[in-house]
C-alpha cells in the first residue's frame, strides 16, 4: 500500500478515512488533525496554560508530544498510584513520564497518592466497599480528584487528557446500554469549567483511533509503558472496545460514526445540556472544598477517610493535601 501524499511505502492504513500514509506524512498528519480538533471544538488557545494528565502510556505521552510540537504551553501531571502487579507498573510508568519530560525539557508535576493520602490505590481498594471488587473505581475517583485539584490550584486554564476515540466510543457504548442520560449529557470533547470549581477539561485526541495514537508513539518514537495496568484485566471498558473492534472489522468507520453521530445528536438538543445535568446541583465538599453532588463530604473524602481509618492512619498523619 502506498502513501497517498508521496507514493512511498505506507506505514499505516486508516480504513475509516480510506487514507494510507508513510511514516513522515503520518507524523505530520497527527498534529495537523489535532490542531483542527482543538479549533473545531474550541478546546484552548496558544495563550492558555494547559495541564496534561500523563500516565506514561502511549496516548498521554503522544498528546503531550503533539501539544509541545504545536507550540502550546503544556505542563504534565503524573499521579503515582502505587500499583505494582508484579511488574512494577507504577514505578515504570513514572519513569517513562519523567524520561519524556527530561528529554523534552518539560515540567512534570508528580503527585504520589500514598504520600499524600496515606495508602496506595490497591491498599485503598482492598479497604473500601467501593474498591473491593473494582480497584478501577477508587483509582478513577482519586485521579479525577487529584487532576482537578492540581489544575485548579496551579491556575491552569484547561486539563487535557489523552482519551482517544476508542475510549470515547467504549464509554458511549456503556452509557448507552444503561441509558445513563446524565453521563451521556456530560460526554464530549470539552467539559466546561463550573463556577463551583470543576476545571475545564479537553480531549484533543478524541477523534483518533487507538491504533493511530499507538502508531504515532511507535513512529516518533516515544518510549511508553506497554504493559497494561494489572487491574485493567477484565475491565468493562476493554470488553466494550473489543466488541466495537469486531464490528469495525466488518464496517470500517463504525466507531467514528457512532461517536460523531452522538455529538451531532447532542448538538441538536437530543440530550439535556451539561449545565442542566451536573453543575447546578453541586456544592463544595465540607472537607476539601471540591465540588460534589453528595451532601456533606464528597465521594473522594468519604472513601479516603474510610481508608485511613481502616489503615490505622488519621488524616493528619498523611501529608497535607
Amino acid at each position: 500500500m502506498k502513501c497517498r501524499k508521496c507514493g512511498d511505502k505506507a506505514a499505516i492504513n486508516m480504513r475509516q478515512h480510506k487514507l494510507a500514509l508513510c511514516r513522515e506524512h503520518f507524523l505530520e498528519w497527527i498534529p495537523e488533525q489535532t490542531e483542527r480538533f482543538i479549533e473545531k471544538y474550541q478546546m484552548f488557545r496558544k495563550s492558555d496554560r494547559i495541564l496534561v494528565a500523563v500516565s506514561g502510556g502511549k496516548d498521554s505521552l503522544s498528546l503531550w508530544d503533539v501539544l509541545h510540537r504545536l507550540g502550546y504551553d503544556a505542563d504534565g501531571l503524573y499521579i503515582g498510584l502505587g500499583i505494582d502487579g508484579g511488574v512494577g507498573y507504577s514505578a515504570e510508568s513514572q519513569r517513562k513520564a519523567e524520561q519524556f519530560a527530561a528529554e523534552h525539557e518539560l515540567r512534570l508535576i508528580v503527585v504520589d497518592v500514598a504520600e499524600v493520602e496515606g495508602a496506595t490505590i490497591p491498599e485503598a481498594a482492598s479497604l473500601t466497599r467501593r474498591g473491593r471488587d473494582k480497584p478501577c473505581s477508587v483509582c478513577g475517583l482519586t485521579k479525577r480528584h487529584v487532576m482537578n485539584r492540581v489544575a485548579r490550584d496551579g491556575g491552569y486554564d484547561v486539563l487535557a487528557t489523552g482519551h482517544n476515540l476508542d475510549d470515547e466510543a467504549a464509554v458511549l457504548f456503556g452509557n448507552t446500554l444503561s441509558w445513563s442520560v446524565g453521563y451521556l449529557a456530560r460526554q464530549g470533547p470539552v467539559l466546561e469549567a463550573s463556577a463551583q470549581g470543576l476545571a475545564r477539561k479537553a480531549k484533543p485526541f478524541c477523534r483518533f483511533y487507538e491504533r493511530e495514537t499507538a502508531a504515532y508513539a511507535l513512529l516518533r518514537p516515544i518510549e511508553y509503558i506497554y504493559d497494561e495496568c494489572p487491574h485493567a484485566v477484565g475491565a468493562k471498558s476493554i470488553y466494550y472496545k473489543e466488541v466495537l473492534n469486531r464490528m469495525e472489522a466488518e464496517r470500517p468507520g463504525l466507531k467514528l460514526s457512532f461517536y460523531l453521530s452522538f455529538l451531532e445528536a447532542k448538538a441538536q438538543g437530543v440530550l439535556p445540556s451539561q449545565g442542566e445535568t451536573g453543575a447546578a446541583g453541586l456544592h463544595p465538599c465540607e472537607t476539601c472544598g471540591q465540588p460534589t453532588s453528595a451532601p456533606g463530604q464528597c465521594a473522594f473524602c468519604r472513601t479516603w477517610d474510610q481508608v485511613r481509618a481502616r489503615h490505622g492512619l488519621t488524616a493528619e498523619r498523611a501529608s497535607p493535601r
Binding site: 500500500m1 505506507a10 506505514a11 499505516i12 492504513n13 494510507a20 511514516r23 502510556g57 502511549k58 496516548d59 478501577c136 473505581s137 483509582c139 478513577g140 485521579k143 479525577r144 482519551h163 476508542d166 475510549d167 467504549a170 464509554v171 456503556g174 452509557n175 444503561s178 445513563s180 446524565g182 453521563y183 456530560r186 460526554q187 483511533y209 487507538e210 491504533r211 495514537t213 499507538a214 502508531a215 511507535l218 513512529l219 506497554y226 497494561e228 495496568c229 487491574h231 485493567a232 475491565a235 468493562k236 471498558s237 476493554i238 472496545k241 473489543e242 473492534n245 469486531r246 469495525e248 472489522a249
Partner: protein, 70 residues
C-alpha cells in the same frame, strides 16, 4: 517454512502468501486491536507474508478507569 506472528508471549503460525490482515484474523485477533511490525518497521495489513517472516504484533488497547462518565 511458516511465518510467525508474536503478540506479547503468544505465538501464532501463519501461512506464507496470506495477508497480514488475514493472518491476524486467522489467529483469532482483531485487526483494529494490533499494529504489525516487520524487521522494526510498521507495516500495513495488506502486506503479504513471506516464508520465515517474524511479525511482531503490538497491542493497542488500553483501559481500566476510563469507565462511565469519564
Amino acid at each position: 517454512m511458516a511465518a510467525r506472528l508474536t503478540l506479547r508471549d503468544r505465538e501464532f503460525e501463519a501461512r506464507p502468501g496470506s495477508t497480514v490482515r488475514d493472518a491476524i484474523l486467522q489467529a483469532g485477533l482483531q485487526p483494529d486491536s494490533v499494529l504489525a511490525i516487520r524487521k522494526g518497521e510498521l507495516i500495513t495489513e495488506d502486506e503479504i507474508l513471506r516464508e520465515g517472516d517474524d511479525i511482531k504484533l503490538v497491542a493497542v488497547i488500553s483501559g481500566g478507569s476510563i469507565g462511565a462518565g469519564s
